[in-house]
């Protein structure tokens, strides 16, 4: 079943058109990755799906209903967003931040009950930040903070979760930790995961399907094997790429080729 269906989507930032005629379908429980060079419109597409950018043309359906027919609150109960970063000028504690995920399910004053606190605790255990519960957010490392925002999204109990480059600026161990977390999230809760990523190898290792964007258009949608080919990536990124099979599970492994080895290939 499709949880997200996009037809002929065009998005603009002010007057500048950033996405053109995008169509995509995401199935329930899928790990769906959006990849593409800088400025290809990945983050804009994610924002469009979360109704954070106005749709210029086309149609987005979330769970079978037009995106525009949702109020923000209704949408927030179905779809959670993990932004690249959140503002830390007025840092709440980890526990308070995670509890905010309950906001779309609560009344105006947002008084949390015992059940909400229990959900927040569960989310913090799931993402392994429970031991940090009372620490202010600005005292955490990048990886810890990312796990807190993911816990907040988990606490929202969404059917779909959108992540904007959650592994950027993390070391390899923390990257895998975040990706494993999302994989577990997807398997255990049946949540659909849509992630923007710069890392082609992580996309290859985890993605059920990849959507490759280039200059605001869909270049290709398909499995890692189908999308990650040397010719296609070379053309999109403007850089020669070496694509081999890795020994883990025969997924494509992508290496951009440095100038000094360009003769070898």
């Amino acid at each position: 079943m499709q949880v997200i269906s996009v037809e002929g989507l065009t998005l603009c930032y002010g007057k500048r058109q950033v996405l053109q005629d995008i169509s995509m379908q995401v199935h329930r429980g899928e790990f769906y990755l959006i990849i593409g060079p800088n400025g290809s419109g990945k983050t804009s597409l994610l924002k469009g799906l979360a109704n954070l950018l106005p749709v210029a043309h086309g149609r987005i359906e979330i769970l079978g209903k037009a995106l525009t027919s949702y109020t923000r609150r209704q949408l927030a109960r179905k779809l959670a967003v993990v932004p690249q970063q959140i503002s830390l000028d007025f840092p709440f504690s980890v526990a308070e931040t995670v509890l905010m995920g309950r906001a779309p399910h609560l009344g105006l004053m947002g008084i949390e009950g015992a059940a909400d606190h229990a959900l927040a605790r569960e989310a913090m255990h799931f993402t392994d930040v429970a031991h940090l519960a009372d620490r202010p957010l600005d005292q955490l490392s990048g990886g810890e903070r990312q796990r807190v925002i993911i816990a907040r999204a988990l606490c929202q109990q969404p059917e779909i979760i959108l992540l904007d480059e959650p592994t950027a600026s993390l070391d390899p161990a923390h990257q895998i930790q975040i990706m494993d977390l999302m994989e577990r999230f997807r398997v255990e809760k049946g949540t659909t995961v849509i992630m923007v990523s710069h890392d082609l190898n992580l996309a290859s290792l985890y993605g059920d399907r990849l959507l490759l964007l280039h200059n605001g258009r869909v270049e290709m949608v398909g499995s890692p094997d189908e999308v990650l080919t040397a010719e296609r990536l070379g053309a999109c990124y403007g850089c020669a790429m070496l694509v081999e099979k890795n020994s883990l599970g025969q997924m494509p492994r992508v290496t951009p080729i440095p100038q000094k080895y360009s003769q070898v290939v």
Binding site: A50, L52, R72, S87, F90, F92, M100, A103
Partner: protein, 336 residues
């Protein structure tokens, strides 16, 4: 320690403590002054066991009480205004006075005064128009350009203030009546013109306070960023518009009554945030009660420090607030 308690309990605790502080400030404000400093006499006058016709009773009820009430209302409003602006602009240094909002309403109020408007509703409306104009300019300045940093916002505010100051000086220089002295004193922030008849206007502040308190939770969500709040179900544009309108409305109302009193909206929210954390469900009532106490006590200093006469309370708040502003600016630079 406070963090482990349920929100309701914390809210009750904070309210009781700060309401107690406010009651003490009220007693001090009513009890201390050039004509008699007796707390015991005051208690007698307040609880009706003294002679209601005595000179001291009359001073306490007819002169000091209206002034203390005005100080409380102004203090509450300005600190709440600071709190809201800081959250909306996600800038710890935002404040009605620093952003030029107070200056804008002063221009409007003085313009209204010179045109012969009555204090209410004429002057209040003129002040509201003036502050709204400045607000639109300041907000337009930042919303058009997302790369604009927090310092640009402050610089914009400082320039707005300078501009408003120039207009005010211009208006004064073309005025040749006896009103000039009065306007100048009022400009520096002055609570001495209060009288019982001017107080009912302040009741209009209560619904404004209620609206801000009702929106405390969405304000919390906004602290993590506009898009983050939107993805948690908040209609950010509507929330921002409503809060800006309500805040500007209440700030211009008190500026009409008290003139320019700066930095209250900086000092009180910062001190309370340090004590209570960033949750607006606690900070809104705390700012209302704490801001009231703070300005009553500042006004007490303004009345009693000079050997003869008194000074505008704006001088006291600026002497306390401006150094704090510099410390906060220095700290935020070090963090970046």
């Amino acid at each position: 320690m406070l963090n482990n308690l349920r929100l309701g309990v914390r809210l009750a605790l904070v309210t009781i403590v700060l309401a107690g502080l406010l009651a003490i400030s009220f007693l001090l404000g009513m009890g201390i002054g050039p004509s008699g400093n007796g707390i015991s006499e005051l208690l007698a006058a307040v609880f009706g066991s003294g002679d209601p016709q005595s000179v001291f009773s009359v001073i306490v009820w007819k002169i000091r009480l209206p002034r203390v009430i005005l100080a409380a209302a102004v203090g509450s409003t300005l600190s709440l205004g600071g709190l809201v602006f800081q959250a909306l602009l996600r800038n710890p240094l935002a404040e009605p006075y620093i952003l030029g909002i107070s200056g804008g309403s002063a221009v409007g109020a003085i313009g209204g005064m010179l045109l012969g408007f009555s204090p209410f509703p004429g002057m209040a409306l003129a002040a509201f128009a003036g502050s709204l104009l400045i607000l639109l300019l300041v907000v337009g300045l930042i919303s058009g350009n997302t790369s604009m940093g927090r310092d640009s916002l402050l610089l914009g505010g400082v320039m707005m203030n300078a501009f408003c100051g120039a207009i005010i000086m211009f208006l004064i220089s073309i005025t040749q009546t006896s009103e000039v002295h009065q306007i100048l004193f009022w400009l520096m922030g002055d609570l001495s013109m209060s009288g019982l008849d001017r107080l009912p206007v302040l009741l209009a502040l209560l619904p404004c306070f209620a609206v801000v308190f009702a929106l405390a939770k969405p304000l919390n969500l906004l602290l993590a960023g506009r898009e983050s709040a939107a993805s948690l179900g908040i209609n950010v544009r509507r929330l921002t518009m409503l809060l800006l309108l309500v805040t500007t409305c209440m700030v211009s109302l008190v500026v009409c009554q008290s003139g320019l009193i700066g930095f209250v909206g900086l000092v009180i929210p910062h001190v309370l945030r340090l004590l209570l954390g960033p949750d607006h469900r606690l900070l809104v009532p705390a700012c209302i009660l704490g801001g009231a106490s703070y300005l009553i006590l500042c006004d007490l200093l303004a009345r009693t420090l000079p050997n003869s006469g008194e000074m505008p309370v704006g001088i006291v708040t600026a002497l306390i607030g401006a150094p704090l502003f510099i410390v906060l600016l220095w700290r935020s630079r070090r963090c970046q």
